[in-house]
């Protein structure tokens, strides 16, 4: 199964799991699959139109999927998918 690395700011929505496994055959299916198991993460990954948010980047191995086939990029069983969020640092709120 392919591995998805969950970034620290989103781990509270994945039961504190740093890694998840996926059978999704494409990037789109693999990422959307997370939201089926952990619905609370959905608003952090997708906007209201169902598009991946622009402050979250998805990489297959070391390559941004936007430079491949986006959400249609095929995922192999030994692949690693990274979700990379924008972080700014500091304490706000």
């Amino acid at each position: 199964m392919a591995k998805i690395i969950i970034p620290t700011p989103l781990r509270k929505f994945t039961g504190n799991n740093a890694f998840l496994e996926t059978n999704g055959k494409t990037i789109g299916k693999a990422i959307y699959g997370i939201t089926e198991t952990f619905p609370e993460i959905k608003q952090h990954l997708y906007d209201k139109d169902g598009k991946l948010r622009s402050f979250v980047r998805v990489f297959l191995g070391d390559t941004d999927v936007r430079t491949l086939s986006g959400e249609l990029t095929e995922v192999g069983p030994t692949d690693t998918i990274s979700i990379i969020p924008a972080i700014a640092g500091g304490i706000k709120g």
Partner: protein, 389 residues
């Protein structure tokens, strides 16, 4: 470059650079001739500035509007106890001049804005972004793009660090990807981790800020391969590092001018995903100041005080309120009075605002008051025995 000369003292100071074959005195001359602007003299800026000063970067500019606070000292190793209350740029200048009297430190004791950024940046060869918020990060990026300057970027959160070199002009004069190519837009405020989810392990900015200083030195000296077109990630918790490839986004609208970055990042404005009524809703709830709260306390006014922070925050310091963390508020409605005034507070007022919105909308509360500025304001203005964090 040969017109740049060194005194005996400088030659001895920089001797460990001078004996590196690929760096040598030419690299040191480039450092001495360079003008580097460091935006932010906090966690990242502290180690970065110390290494850049020690290494002999000839002119270093500092931008910050903040003053040294006790809570900075856990990671901002540039400062000491005696600096508390001083302007950060002043304290930093004193420390850096003590470290290396052969360099020039120029201070900009101000908040970087769209109005002043280009004027300040134009006097420097390279900019290093050590800021702590999205509006300033986009401002630094865009100003660098407009002026054709390299932006050595680093960012930290809890145990995670990111480093890259943006807008780097290669030997063929081609600019590499910038911050907007990686992240076209910032997260809306509601999706930014709140203060309960913030924080940073103290040594992390030391590690990441040092990597940033290394990239600054590489770009200036032309030695090595800068981290352009690549994003370095460090997970201090699991000790994992990764380098990802980043490239220019052909769909990215070119930066043509500086904009209102607070607005762009939605600070103080409703999330664009929210409905049209969001803005009016946002401002509809009642607020009180810490002074008014204190008057209520003194006059014996009947009210309930609810604290919506997390238990670990309550342990750091509290105002004696009843603890109901924001995430648990909907399951504890029966604990919130409906027949007296209820003051809701958190650390600085953001989560209590969210709590009130939920309670008013879903449970029809009409007796709630948000404590403006939260515990931080109360600890500053009313009760100085309360620890700020």
């Amino acid at each position: 470059m040969s017109e740049i000369t060194f005194s005996k003292s400088e030659l001895e100071r920089y001797s460990r650079h001078l004996i590196i074959p690929e760096f040598n005195i030419e690299g040191q001359r480039k450092l001495k001739a360079a003008k580097v602007l460091v935006v932010g003299t906090g966690g990242l800026g502290a180690p970065m500035l110390m290494y850049l000063a020690a290494a002999g970067v000839g002119t270093i500019g500092l931008v910050d509007f903040d003053v040294v606070d006790e809570s900075n000292l856990q990671r901002q190793v540039l400062f000491s106890v005696n600096d508390i209350g001083k302007a950060k740029v002043e304290a930093a200048k004193e420390r850096l001049e003590g470290l290396n009297p052969h360099i020039k430190i120029q201070i900009h004791n101000l908040r970087l804005t769209s109005e002043n950024a280009l004027e300040i940046f134009k006097n420097y060869d390279l900019v290093a972004d050590g800021t702590d918020n999205f509006p300033t990060r986009y401002l630094v990026n865009d100003a660098c793009v407009l002026l054709g300057k390299t932006n050595v970027y680093a960012s930290i959160f809890r145990f995670d660090g990111q480093v890259s070199v943006f807008n780097y002009k290669d030997k063929n004069g081609i600019f590499g990807p910038n911050y907007r190519d990686l992240f076209p837009a910032p997260p809306p405020p509601g999706l930014v981790p709140s203060c309960a989810e913030g924080g940073v392990i103290g040594v992390l900015p030391g590690i990441i800020g040092s990597l940033q200083a290394n990239e600054v030195i590489k770009v200036i000296s032309g030695v090595g391969e800068p981290l352009a077109g690549r994003l370095f990630l460090f997970d201090a918790l699991n000790f994992e590092t990764r380098i990802l490839k980043i490239s220019k986004d052909p769909n990215q609208v070119p930066v043509s001018k500086l904009i209102d970055y607070e607005f762009f990042c939605g600070v103080g404005e409703p999330d664009s995903d929210q409905d049209e009524n969001a803005k009016s809703e946002k401002n509809s709830f009642k607020e009180i100041s810490v002074k008014e709260l204190n008057e209520w306390q003194i006059s014996g006014e009947k009210f309930q005080l609810i604290d919506v922070r997390e238990e670990f925050e309550y342990e750091i310091s509290n105002m004696g309120g009843e603890l109901i963390p924001l995430d648990e508020i909907e399951n504890n409605i029966e604990k919130i009075a409906k027949d007296v005034k209820v003051v809701v507070h958190c650390r600085s007022g953001q989560r209590s605002e969210e709590a009130i919105k939920v309670l008013e909308k879903k449970f029809d509360f009409r007796n709630l008051y948000n404590l403006r500025g939260g515990l931080l304001a109360y600890a500053t203005e009313i009760d100085q025995s309360i620890a700020k964090y």
